[in-house]
C-alpha cells in the first residue's frame, strides 16, 4: 500500500495556542457561535487581528447548511487557504497535518484549526438518523441504537475473540476519570468506582452507561505556524515529529478488530525516529474503551490481542505508569461532536508546554495522539495519529 517514497519531515512547523471553550451539556447557541468563541479566543490570546489568520480549517457536524466557505464571510476572515474537515474523531490530527503542510509550503502563514459543535435537545437523534447513507439505509432502521449499538457489536466480538473482560474496560474508564478530577469543565468529575462501572445500566450489551461519552456542546482550537512565528508571538509551541492518516483499511475484515493504524504505525514511528517505549504519555480516541485498546495494539504498544493484558499491567493515570488520556478523555470531559477529535491533541499540547488544565504528567517531553472517526456502516473508517514533542 505504501508508495515507497519517504514522507518529508515537518521541520520548522509547530502547533501552538491550545484553546478550549468550556463544554455545556446542551446549548441553545449555534455551532457558529461556538466556532466564533474559539476564533475570538485564538486571536485575543495571540494578539492577532482576524485578518492575520490566512488559513482556516473547520470541523463541525452541526454547522450546516454552511461549510468553511460560508464561515469566512460569517466571521469576516479572508484566508488564502481553507479546509473543511468534518471527519469526527479524526478531525484534529488531519487538520493538523494538512495545516502543517500548507505552512511548510508557504501557502499559509498562520492556520487556525477549529472544531466545534452545538448540542440542542434533539440534535443528537437527528445527527444519528442522517449520519451517512449507509447509516440511513442499513443501520439506523435496526433498533436505532446509534453508535452505542454499532460499538456494542464491535466490543462483543473483540471480547469473544481476545478474552477482554468488562473489568479491563473499567480500568481505562476509571483511570481517565481520575485524570479528569482536576479538569474544571469536565462533564463528569466525580470519582468512578469499579462497582459503579460494573453495575451501571446496560445501554446495548456489553456497552453500559460508563462506556459511553456524553454528547455536549463545545469547541477546541489551535494554531499551526512556523516555529519562528510562534516565537515572535511569544507562544509556547510543540513540534510535529510524524503523522499518519488512513481511511477504510482492512475492508474485508468481517468485524472491526483493527484500524488503519496497524497499516501505518511503522512509518509513524520511523519518521519520528522513536519507538513506543520512548513517548511519555498517550492520547487515544476514546469514544468507547474497546477502541482505545485497539489503538494501543495497532500503534505498537503491545501486540494484537494482548491489549487486555497490557491494560492489566498499567495504571494509565497521570501520576502512574503509561499516562493515558490525561484530561480524562471524552468519556469524562464529554463529546462536543467534532471537537472530540481535537480533545486529545489540545491536551497533549498543554502537557508538552507545561500549561495543563489539570494535573501535569511528569517529564512530559513527547507523546502520541491518535484519532478515529466516522462509523459509516459497521465500523469506524478513519484512523490517524501524530507524534509530538516539546520544543527543546
Amino acid at each position: 500500500m505504501t508508495s515507497g517514497a519517504t514522507r518529508k519531515s515537518y521541520d520548522g512547523v509547530v502547533a501552538c495556542l491550545p484553546v478550549t471553550i468550556p463544554y455545556r451539556r446542551y446549548s441553545t447557541n449555534s455551532a457558529h457561535w461556538w466556532i466564533g468563541r474559539a476564533l475570538h479566543e485564538l486571536t485575543k490570546r495571540a494578539g492577532l487581528r482576524p485578518k492575520d489568520i490566512d488559513g482556516l480549517a473547520v470541523s463541525s457536524f452541526t454547522v450546516g447548511p454552511d461549510t468553511a466557505v460560508g464561515l469566512t464571510q460569517h466571521f469576516g476572515l479572508s484566508p488564502r487557504w481553507l479546509d473543511h474537515i468534518p471527519f469526527g474523531g479524526a478531525s484534529g490530527i488531519i487538520a493538523l497535518r494538512r495545516a502543517a503542510r500548507a505552512v511548510q509550503a508557504g501557502d499559509a502563514h498562520i492556520v487556525a484549526c477549529v472544531a466545534a459543535d452545538t448540542n440542542h435537545v434533539d440534535s443528537f437523534r437527528k445527527t444519528l438518523s442522517t449520519f451517512s447513507r449507509f447509516a440511513q439505509d442499513a443501520v439506523y432502521p435496526y433498533g436505532s441504537g446509534g453508535a452505542n449499538a454499532s460499538f456494542a457489536l464491535i466490543t462483543k466480538h473483540y471480547m469473544n475473540t481476545y478474552g477482554a473482560k468488562r473489568e479491563d474496560f473499567a480500568k481505562l474508564c476509571i483511570a481517565q476519570r481520575d485524570n479528569a478530577l482536576s479538569i474544571p469543565h469536565a462533564m463528569m468529575k466525580r470519582k468512578l468506582t469499579l462497582d459503579e462501572y460494573m453495575s451501571a445500566r446496560p445501554i446495548a450489551d456489553p456497552i453500559h452507561l460508563f462506556d459511553c461519552v456524553m454528547p455536549c456542546a463545545g469547541a477546541e482550537a489551535l494554531l499551526v505556524c512556523r516555529e519562528d512565528t510562534a516565537r515572535s508571538f511569544n507562544l509556547p509551541a510543540v513540534r510535529i515529529l510524524s503523522t499518519i492518516e488512513r481511511h477504510n483499511a482492512f475492508a474485508t475484515d468481517p468485524m472491526q478488530v483493527r484500524g488503519g493504524w496497524a497499516l501505518d504505525a511503522g512509518e509513524l514511528w520511523s519518521m519520528a525516529g522513536l519507538t513506543p517505549e520512548d513517548v511519555d504519555f498517550v492520547q487515544t480516541y476514546d469514544d468507547y474503551p474497546v477502541i482505545s485498546v485497539m489503538q494501543l495494539e495497532d500503534l505498537g504498544f503491545c501486540a494484537k490481542g494482548e491489549g487486555p493484558d497490557f491494560v492489566r499491567s498499567h495504571t494509565f493515570t497521570n501520576d502512574g505508569t503509561f499516562p493515558h488520556n490525561t484530561s480524562g478523555g471524552q468519556l469524562s470531559v464529554g463529546q462536543a461532536g467534532a471537537a472530540g477529535g481535537f480533545l486529545g491533541l489540545v491536551e497533549a499540547m498543554r502537557q508538552l508546554t507545561s500549561q495543563p488544565l489539570g494535573s501535569q504528567v511528569p517529564d512530559a517531553n513527547s507523546c502520541l495522539v491518535s484519532g478515529f472517526g466516522m462509523i459509516n456502516y459497521d465500523r469506524g473508517l478513519s484512523s490517524c495519529a501524530a507524534i509530538l514533542a516539546r520544543v527543546a
Partner: protein
C-alpha cells in the same frame, strides 16, 4: 425456543389505544432494490455482473471493481451470526417502546456483512438465514432467522412486527357468496384466526356452499353489500374496531372487450362492485385499521386485494374486466400510502383465471379457490406485499418484466 403466543384477552375499553409509530423508513433510491425484493418475499442483494462480488449495503458502484452494473439478484441467504447485542436505549420513539431489541452482525457465505434484526432463536455463533421483510415503515429490513425452523417461530415478537400473521387476528372476508370467499373463510379458520366475519348481501337468497360456510369454525356471517355505501358503513360501525385483516373477495367477472360491447351497463356494474366497492371498504374500514396499527398482539395488520393479473396487462377477451382490475390496482397503491402511517400493509394478490364458472370457457391452467386462499394466508404470514398465484400469473409477471410491448401484442391473439 419461542414462547407460543397467548390468545389476547378482550380489550379493556377504558384502556388507551397505543398509537402506531414507525421506524425510520427513508432509504436511498438504490436501497429500495431491497424493498422490491422484500415485497415479494425474495432475498436479493446487488451482484456485480463484471466481477461477481456480492454488494451490501446498497451502492452505486461495485466496491471491488467500480463497475456500475450491479443489479439486485437473488443470493444465498445463509451465514453466521458473529456478534449480537441487545439495544436497551434507543433514540427512536418506535424502538424506544419496544426495547429490549436484539440486533446482530451476520457474515453471509456470499460475502458481505449485514447488520440485521434477530429472531429470538438466532443465537450468537450459530448459522442463520436472512430474510428481507417490510417493517412498519414499509421499507425493507433484514432479519436473521435460525437456520432450521423452530417451534412457534412465527410468534417471535420481532418477527411478528414485520408480518401480518392471521393467528389470533380477526378477519373480514367481504363476500361469502363466491367459491373464493368460502375458501378464504376456511383457510383463515384453519390458520388460527380468532374470528372470521364473512359478509353476505341479500342473505335470504340461497347459494351453493352456504351450509358448508356455516359449519366452518369461528365463522360469523354478517350483512354486507359492497354496492351499498350504507351497508358497508354500518358493518364498519358494528365490527370495524375488532377487525384486523380485511380481505376483499367481491368479484365481478364478465367476458367482453371495450369496442365490441354494447353500452355501459356491465362496465358500470363492474366498477360499482369492484372499484367503488373497494373505495367504500377503504373509506369505512381504512381509518380504523390505521388507528389500530399498534393495538397489541391482534393489532390491525393488513388489507388484502385479490386482483386479476390482467390488472397489469389487459386481456382483450376480458377487456373491460381487466380495466376495472387495473383501476383497483391503482387504488391499492394509493391505499398503501394512506395506510402506511398505521403500519398496515396492503397486500395485492394477483391471480390467473380461476377454476370458477365465470372462467368456464378459459383453458387451463387455472387457479382453484383454495389455492388462492392458501396463497393469501401464506403471504400474510410472510408479510409480503405482492404475491402471484398460479402459472398464468407467474407467466405474465415474467413476460412483463422482459418486454411489456411483446406481451401486449401476444395478449390480443
Amino acid at each position: 425456543m419461542t414462547q407460543p403466543l397467548v390468545r389476547p384477552k378482550r380489550k379493556n375499553p377504558l384502556q388507551r389505544t397505543r398509537l402506531p409509530l414507525s421506524p425510520q423508513g427513508v432509504r436511498s433510491r438504490t436501497a429500495h432494490g431491497l424493498t422490491a425484493a422484500a415485497a415479494e418475499g425474495r432475498f436479493a442483494l446487488q451482484v456485480c455482473l463484471d466481477c461477481d462480488a456480492v454488494v451490501y449495503p446498497p451502492r452505486d458502484a461495485c466496491p471491488s471493481c467500480l463497475s456500475a452494473r450491479i443489479p439486485f439478484r437473488d443470493v444465498d441467504p445463509s451465514g453466521t451470526l458473529i456478534a449480537e447485542t441487545t439495544v436497551q436505549t434507543s433514540t427512536d420513539p418506535y424502538f424506544r417502546e419496544r426495547t429490549p431489541w436484539r440486533v446482530g452482525t451476520v457474515k453471509l457465505d456470499a460475502g458481505p456483512v449485514v447488520v440485521a434484526h434477530l429472531h429470538g432463536d438466532a443465537v450468537e455463533g450459530a448459522r442463520v438465514r436472512l430474510e428481507l421483510k417490510l417493517d412498519k415503515s414499509g421499507s425493507a429490513v433484514a432479519i436473521a432467522l435460525p437456520e432450521k425452523d423452530t417451534p412457534n417461530m412465527a410468534d417471535d415478537p420481532h418477527l411478528r412486527e414485520m408480518t401480518c400473521d392471521p393467528k389470533f387476528r380477526r378477519v373480514l372476508v367481504t363476500d361469502g357468496r363466491t367459491p373464493v370467499g368460502q375458501a378464504m373463510a376456511q383457510a383463515f379458520s384453519d390458520t388460527g384466526a380468532a374470528i372470521v366475519f364473512v359478509g353476505l348481501a341479500d342473505a335470504w337468497k340461497p347459494f351453493p356452499g352456504l351450509d358448508g360456510l356455516r359449519k366452518v369454525e369461528r365463522v360469523e356471517i354478517v350483512p354486507l353489500d359492497m354496492t351499498d355505501t350504507e351497508s358497508v358503513t354500518e358493518q364498519a360501525e358494528q365490527n370495524g374496531a375488532r377487525i384486523d385483516i380485511v380481505v376483499n373477495t367481491a368479484e365481478h367477472v364478465r367476458s367482453g372487450g371495450i369496442v365490441d360491447r354494447h353500452g355501459l351497463t356491465v362496465a358500470r356494474e363492474e366498477m360499482d362492485v369492484r372499484y367503488l366497492g373497494l373505495m367504500r371498504l377503504a373509506q369505512a374500514f381504512g381509518p380504523i385499521l390505521r388507528f389500530r396499527g399498534a393495538d397489541g398482539v391482534n393489532s390491525a395488520a393488513a388489507f388484502v386485494n385479490l386482483l386479476s393479473v390482467h390488472a397489469l396487462m389487459n386481456w382483450p377477451t376480458y377487456g373491460s374486466y381487466s380495466a376495472t382490475e387495473a383501476a383497483c390496482l391503482s387504488a391499492a397503491q394509493c391505499m398503501r400510502a394512506e395506510l402506511r402511517p398505521g403500519g398496515v400493509k396492503v397486500l395485492n394478490v394477483f391471480f390467473g383465471p380461476l377454476e370458477t364458472e365465470w372462467f368456464q370457457t378459459v383453458p387451463p391452467p387455472k387457479v382453484a379457490p383454495a389455492t388462492l386462499a392458501n396463497a393469501v394466508v401464506r403471504a400474510l404470514r410472510q408479510g409480503t406485499e405482492d404475491a402471484f398465484v398460479g402459472d398464468v400469473a407467474e407467466d405474465i409477471r415474467q413476460r412483463l418484466a422482459v418486454n411489456p410491448k411483446a406481451l401486449e401484442r401476444e395478449m390480443a391473439s
